[in-house]
Symmetry: C2
Subunit: 328 residues, 2 copies
């Protein structure tokens, strides 16, 4: 359902480094052991997942854009390991634990799976130059993202159609927006200092950005989710609220509109907020701009991304098992 | 408003070890440097905060009950450091960071503040005998609790009356229910294994338990919060939804009722849930029972707790600064 239009009154921009970064990122996923040859490579190139970096971080170029491509690309590859069949479940759970340990300060074990070592290297790059306070809160955002995946495994085993609120709660973790918004500070070379970053005003902005992206994603991936028998907000609304499919789609579109409106209203309140809490106005403006750019960037990427097509789609990125310890 | 009645159809129970544990806990807070002599001790004894352990964990006795008293007592003492005036703000923020580092595996620095060393010792006791998976997820729950306090500081600086949803979001962190529910597994000597613990069914039970406790607490502490000029859900409803105070109180009572009903409905679904996910029925039953006991225990303790009286109240527990490095 990528043809569905969303109201996102934020300017459309893209990093001038896209083409160069795409080529370089393909070498990186290959060198990191995340994408092998042949069919896996064909699927990865087809999916264009890492292009989202250039749309979501339009001011990033050079090594900063490369970091965004690698982290976002990693997230899609990690995601698809969970759709690759039940026999990978135990390994996927174990990997969530290993990644949590990496974030809490342990280097990956020798011979750790490629999905772990690749993340560990990205995490070192992501933390470079950032303060201890930013590192602490960003570890928490990453671990919260990781905590969403066992939920997905358990809910599938349960075989239940989650109600819309529960579905949204689970998606707020696995969508990965919070660590991505922390990445926006890193590549923008600024930080919202504590305790200002923790204020409910900014938390509400993050939540609105997150919900806008989730709701767009649910529409983009609906046909693919339905074909695969996976959870989706549209299906949850049909099942629990007794809506027709078209009504449910409309409801999700309204969630996009409401979330974006809420985000923009909170963003326009940043100068007043900053005066009250004594925060540097320029830093808050950059933060608001970075969040807005990610919402718009997701929108622009998602409309065209071949990841969500169902016609002529070569299959997901989970062809290769990236969860097993390496022999070397 | 402790006279207000709540519908909590869960049996009332209390640990037979209460009196012994209370005496021993008073020695512990003194030895740990958390409560000095004179007025600070008088206030602590008056508050009866650690008694909540015997109500919330009615099956715990001996060392297990002691651990519950110490951790719950610690939480109240920590909480009140944030109400002790602006001059402690920076130290309180720094302590949140130090506690996060302790949870992620670093021992406290030599000469660390008493609130940090006392927590570190409790955390070692809390983790004893628990699996790596339980430790990982419980660290996350503790860190999430700690992340709520900078929000409180920032929101006070902002000077805004949060809307009810934002107020509830912030309280879901600082109420501390999630680490307390993990403590219930520890002292019950059982664990809900992964990924079952992460299932949305159990997450919804935790959330309902948490919201029931929050809503009761908002009523219990309303007069005290109003007197101190602090945020409270009743005030949020009056301010944002245009309710009279009595209507707002009624709305919060309904939140208690709805949350408890939702919890009990989900609890009665545990056998079906367990069959679907292949979980041991006895473990799920114990978990449901432990959560129910904590809801009821909070209810019973909160009605009588002198912490929330406004008449003849000697003052909060923040008399002594527990955030400064120790000279010794």
């Amino acid at each position: 359902m990528q043809e569905i239009e969303f109201a996102v009154p934020i300017p459309s921009r893209v990093s001038p480094g896209l083409d160069r970064a795409r080529e370089r990122h393909l070498r990186w996923v290959t060198d990191a052991g995340l994408v092998g040859g042949g069919e896996a490579r064909r699927r990865y190139e087809f999916s264009q997942v890492a292009d989202i970096a250039a749309h979501g971080f339009p001011d990033a170029t050079g090594e900063d854009l490369d970091l965004c491509c690698d982290l976002l690309g990693w997230m899609f590859l990690f995601d698809d390991q969970f759709d690759a069949g039940d026999e990978r479940k135990a390994d996927a759970l174990a990997v969530c634990g290993q990644l949590t340990d990496v974030l809490r300060g342990g280097p990956p074990a020798p011979g750790a799976p490629p999905i772990v070592t690749a993340f560990a290297r990205c995490w070192v790059r992501m933390g470079t130059g950032m303060s201890p306070a930013w590192l602490r809160r960003t570890v928490h955002d990453w671990v919260d993202y990781l905590a969403g995946w066992p939920t997905k495994i358990a809910d599938r085993a349960h075989g239940v159609v989650l109600d819309p609120a529960a579905h949204l709660r689970a998606r707020r973790r696995t969508i990965g927006c919070r660590p991505v918004l922390a990445l926006a500070e890193r590549v923008g070379r600024f930080e919202v200092p504590p305790p200002v970053w923790h204020a409910s005003h900014l938390e509400a902005m993050r939540l609105a950005a997150c919900d806008a992206v989730i709701a767009m994603n649910e529409i983009h991936s609906y046909e693919k989710d339905r074909a695969g028998g996976y959870a989706n907000l549209v299906s949850a609304l049909v099942h629990h609220d007794g809506l027709a499919e078209s009504q449910a789609v409309q409801r999700v579109r309204e969630t996009v509109r409401d979330s974006v409106e809420s985000f923009l209203r909170l963003r326009s309140g940043l100068p007043d907020f900053g005066r009250a809490v004594g925060a540097e106005p320029a830093v808050l403006a950059r933060y608001g701009g970075a969040l807005a750019a990610y919402i718009r960037g997701y929108h622009d990427w998602g409309r065209g991304a071949l990841r969500y097509t169902t016609r002529g789609h070569p299959g997901d990125l989970g062809l290769e098992n990236l969860l097993m310890p390496r022999a070397d």
